[in-house]
């Protein structure tokens, strides 16, 4: 970390001044308070994570630091420059990557880079070396001529980062750069940011993914505009000593066991990890209950090291309960076909480009089936063909026994669909969205009224009925989207990156419902970049370069990645291992 000081001594002051000083920052938007009395210091040469649930004020804080918003009261300075007084200079000292990339989709990779280079006063002809370096750094060199709109999510993030890095700012502000990025690209991002901090830059990384926060040098934890924690993540995690456990190798009963565990008073949080269940006890709670539960289920209970995520959930008062009110109300699903979703030799070609190449698999009823793969591997093309959004070039796809090509209507009425952006009608109220969802699936009369009332009760949407979906808190918005997708009680539910950019608490609530649905016999198809989510799946299909390269349980996939360096690989390790192995195989062939 001292490298920076040595390479350009003239620019560094003798004692390393803090990169960012925030002092009593307060920000008000009308009646809404986004930030309350936030004070913190961010140091150079370090990666600082900015974490917190949705609506905590992360984006507002970053925008103030980037000089895009003015604080209501309080002060903030970046690289010694006041964000209000020296607003012009702030833009030279900071690099900022907004949540929506800020890329021009109809410009190519190189054109985007040139634009931001010139805006930051760089001469692009004399800085060919810098461009080559950045392209190498981001591994975007083969794609310089591609339009930004045609890049995959991960490549967009890397390009956004490259643009923010032009002219080497002293402070780099990144707003949720990890959203929609596959594990391989995420590794690249980390590598890039690591190199920058080693070089003396201060990097602020805002995120809702807590495994990312865990890798930061320091963390600022915001909640409802307040700073709850400021320090290295290990310090927060350390407070949770001996409260994390794992119920090992539970197998088929793990969802029921998780529900039971979460319903215990002594348990504050729990998630599924492959065949096991991971739980966190409340502060001061004894482990008697959970031990009894383990004994009852005849599974082993192992103490595991605490994660930052455990501490985060604990600090915010624990996760939601384990029982899904939704699943309780749902009658068990009966399916007359042996497989809920199946495809044989499914292929999609766009011109001479093959997006999906002879993919075959079968999904059993009640299974949670994950579709994983790096950005651009053909995952979403396959997914779209399975739910009828794209017509296959060849091969077959069936949903609940209905062929998508011939009995499109029949197949479509048996599936529910929830997309990444929730796809709610922003111009309609919450109730009108529910009415629409019921109507478009052909429900009418008493059935329709009954179902809508059911959904309102189940998801506690009563107080929000007249509001526009965009006015809802993220968690409620997600509930509404799920309610709309389930209105017609489909036996098969398709989820397209359902929790992308969603904070851990909202994510847990969502998975509580999904687990409940699965126990009622609903088949779930899910695509995700979020490896914790893959752990919830019964089986995972891994797509890479348009082909199916692996299809197995999460535990088996992890087992394949075991080597001397990684005796206990994570799902992310397994993902990267599979991709690297496939690359090797391709190179050999």
């Amino acid at each position: 970390m001292s490298v920076a000081g040595q390479t350009s001594p003239s620019t560094m002051t003798a004692t390393p001044a803090p990169a960012v000083v925030i002092d009593g920052l307060h920000k008000q938007f009308g009646a809404l308070t986004a930030l309350r009395a936030v004070s913190a210091t961010i140091h150079t040469g370090r990666l600082t994570g900015l974490v917190g649930p949705d609506g905590a004020g992360k984006t507002t804080l970053l925008r103030i630091l980037a000089g895009l918003l003015t604080p209501s009261t309080g002060r903030a300075s970046v690289a010694g420059l006041d964000v209000v007084v020296d607003n012009d200079a702030i833009h030279h000292a900071t690099g900022y990557m907004p949540q929506r990339f800020g890329l021009y989709e109809d410009l190519s990779v190189l054109e985007n880079m040139r634009l931001y280079a010139r805006l930051r006063g760089l001469d692009t002809t004399r800085n060919a070396d810098l461009f080559a370096e950045l392209l190498e750094f981001t591994r975007l060199a083969p794609f310089t001529a591609r339009l930004a709109g045609k890049l995959s999510g991960g490549m967009k993030q890397k390009l956004g980062l490259a643009c923010a890095l032009m002219a080497r700012p002293k402070v780099l502000l990144l707003d949720e750069p990890g959203v929609g990025v596959d594990p391989v690209s995420r590794q690249d991002l980390w590598r890039m940011v690591q190199a920058l901090t080693d070089d003396g830059m201060a990097v602020v990384w805002s995120t809702a993914y807590l495994d990312e926060a865990e890798r930061c040098d320091s963390v600022l934890l915001l909640h409802e505009g307040r700073l709850l924690f400021d320090g290295p993540p290990q310090r927060l995690t350390a407070q949770l000593r001996e409260r994390s456990f794992r119920l090992e190798n539970v197998g088929a009963g793990r969802r029921a066991l998780l529900t039971a565990a979460l319903d215990l008073d002594s348990v504050s949080d729990g998630v599924i990890q492959g065949a096991g269940v991971r739980v966190v006890l409340r502060a001061g709670a004894a482990s008697n209950d959970i031990r009894a539960l383990a004994a009852q289920a005849r599974v082993e209970l192992a103490a595991v090291p605490a994660r930052f995520e455990d501490a985060f959930i604990d600090l915010l008062g624990g996760g939601p309960g384990g029982t899904s009110a939704l699943a309780e109300r749902l009658p068990p699903v009966e399916l007359d076909s042996p497989s809920a979703v199946s495809c044989r030799d499914l292929t999609k070609r766009f011109g001479d480009f093959t997006a999906t190449d002879r993919v075959s698999f079968e999904v059993r009823q009640g299974e949670i089936f994950g579709l994983l793969g790096p950005n651009g591997a053909g995952k979403s093309t396959t997914f779209k063909m399975l739910c009828g959004l794209l017509k296959p070039s060849s091969g077959q796809a069936q949903v609940a026994g209905h062929d998508l090509r011939h009995a499109t209507g029949a197949a479509k009425s048996r599936l529910g669909y929830m997309a990444q952006k929730f796809s709610l009608y922003g111009l309609l109220s919450v109730r009108q969205n529910l009415e629409f969802a019921a109507g478009v699936y052909g429900l009418d009369g008493a059935t329709r009224r009954g179902r809508i009332e059911d959904m309102i009760d189940t998801f506690d949407l009563g107080p929000w009925l007249a509001a526009a979906p965009d006015a809802l808190p993220l968690g409620h918005k997600q509930r509404l989207a799920l309610a709309c997708a389930l209105m017609h009680r489909p036996p098969v539910l398709f989820l397209d990156e359902p929790t992308s950019g969603v904070d851990p608490i909202t994510r847990r609530e969502f998975w509580t419902h999904i687990n409940g649905l699965s126990r009622r016999g609903v088949t779930i198809m899910v695509t995700t970049h979020f490896m914790d989510e893959a752990e919830y799946c019964d089986r995972v299909a891994m797509l890479y370069r348009a082909r199916l390269i692996a299809l197995d349980t999460p535990d088996q996939l992890k087992r394949r990645a075991i080597d001397s360096a990684r005796p206990d690989p994570t799902m992310e390790d397994a993902f990267i291992h599979l991709v690297e192995a496939a690359d090797l195989q391709l190179a050999a062939a």
Binding site: T7, G67, R100, E111, L115, L122
Partner: protein, 388 residues
């Protein structure tokens, strides 16, 4: 990695100015690429003017030609036949002969005829006793007033000429008008309409397109990224506007070239004056687009407002299609606030009359003044941050 950083350190000091040519150039380049890559931009900037000019040249002709009228010849007399022949001979009327009034009356309702002339049974007698009453009757379709007027006047003229030809100089009128049309001797309406086409297309590009593209940057979030760079508001806005300024001028030149070379519309004034007028007109047009988008930051509303405040007034109230003098006083007053009105008035002069600076100067001043007001408001509505 130390060299770029050292360089950056040096640059920070040098670039703490408000305005930087290279940054502006980068923004202009970016915007031009975007504009040229979107087929809808090219459609509006280059295809629409051509279509409009073609339509103005061939379709929107205010010069009536071959207007279909019925000629009912009830009289078998030779004089009646001779008058009917006079109607048949004119190139402005397309005479259809009939024997029954009811037949042509029905055609008039159906809209297949625009008028008819009845040469009555007793035409010979009426001709013999002038002064007793009218010779014949001309009926027009009043539901199209302009055409009706033309048919009435022209048919009257045909009869007049026919009579003069018969009587010789006997009934010479004591007072004859000799009209001479300056600037447009052939009275071709396309000459008067070309300026309108230019004004309409430049309004669409300047106001509508600009409002859309600025609103789009807000909607897509790219504005946030650009605002976080050292580029100043002035640079961002000028960078946004310059390409559309150029596009508007190019579109104008395309239209002018097409009009002068293909449709033989003369350009009596100088090209320099035309360029100056167009350039100054782009100021209020762009300013209006910028103001609309800064206020709405939403493409749907921006398009609607630009339609109703920019495009339709330029079409209806600029004086290229409808006479401003004939409008009621409140609307006449309103037209002074419409930049296209001043532009159209100057364009007509520069095309048909020449460089008449006493016409141009007040128009130039008015356009610049309206533009300045728009920009003042737009500047106030755009701040260099994301504060709502």
């Amino acid at each position: 990695m130390s060299t770029p950083r050292a360089r950056m350190q040096a640059l920070v000091g040098a670039h703490l100015r408000r305005f930087d040519g290279r940054r502006l150039l980068a923004l202009v380049y970016k915007e031009s690429l975007q504009a040229l890559r979107d087929p809808s931009t090219l459609l509006i900037a280059f295809v629409l003017p051509v279509v409009l000019l073609l339509l103005f040249a061939y379709a929107v002709s205010l010069d009536a030609r071959h207007v279909r009228i019925g000629v009912v010849v009830e009289s078998p007399a030779a004089t009646a036949q001779s008058l009917a022949a006079a109607f048949a001979a004119t190139e402005y009327l397309d005479a259809h002969f009939a024997h029954d009034r009811r037949e042509v009356a029905d055609a008039l309702v159906a809209g297949t005829l625009r008028g008819f002339v009845v040469i009555p049974q007793d035409f010979e007698q009426r001709l013999a006793r002038p002064g007793d009453g009218p010779l014949l009757q001309i009926i027009t379709d009043g539901s199209y007033p302009n055409t009706a007027n033309f048919v009435g006047n022209y048919a009257q003229g045909v009869v007049q000429t026919w009579r003069t030809g018969r009587d010789g100089a006997a009934s010479a009128t004591p007072l004859a008008l000799e009209p001479r049309y300056w600037f447009n001797a052939q009275l071709e309406s396309r000459r008067a309409l070309v300026p309108g086409a230019i004004a309409i297309v430049m309004t669409i590009i300047g106001t509508m397109l600009t409002a859309l593209v600025v609103a789009r940057e807000w909607e897509r979030g790219t504005m946030e990224a650009v605002l976080s760079t050292p580029a100043s508001v002035v640079e961002i806005l000028v960078g946004k506007l310059l390409p559309y300024f150029a596009l508007g001028m190019l579109s104008m030149l395309t239209a002018t070239a097409l009009a002068t070379f293909a449709f033989a519309v003369p350009l009596h004034g100088s090209l320099a004056a035309l360029l100056l007028l167009s350039a100054v007109f782009m100021v209020p047009a762009l300013g209006q687009g910028l103001l609309i988008s800064s206020l709405t930051r939403n493409q749907f509303l921006a398009a609607q407002i630009a339609l109703f405040s920019g495009f339709l007034p330029a079409f209806m109230l600029s004086g290229f299609l409808f006479e401003i003098d004939a409008m009621p006083a409140p609307i006449r007053t309103m037209t002074w606030l419409i930049p296209a009105r001043h532009f159209v008035s100057s364009l007509k002069t520069v095309f048909l009359a020449g460089d008449v600076w006493c016409v141009f100067l007040p128009n130039l001043f008015a356009m610049a003044a309206i533009g300045a007001v728009f920009f003042l408001f737009a500047k106030r509505a755009t701040r260099k941050n994301l504060e709502p």
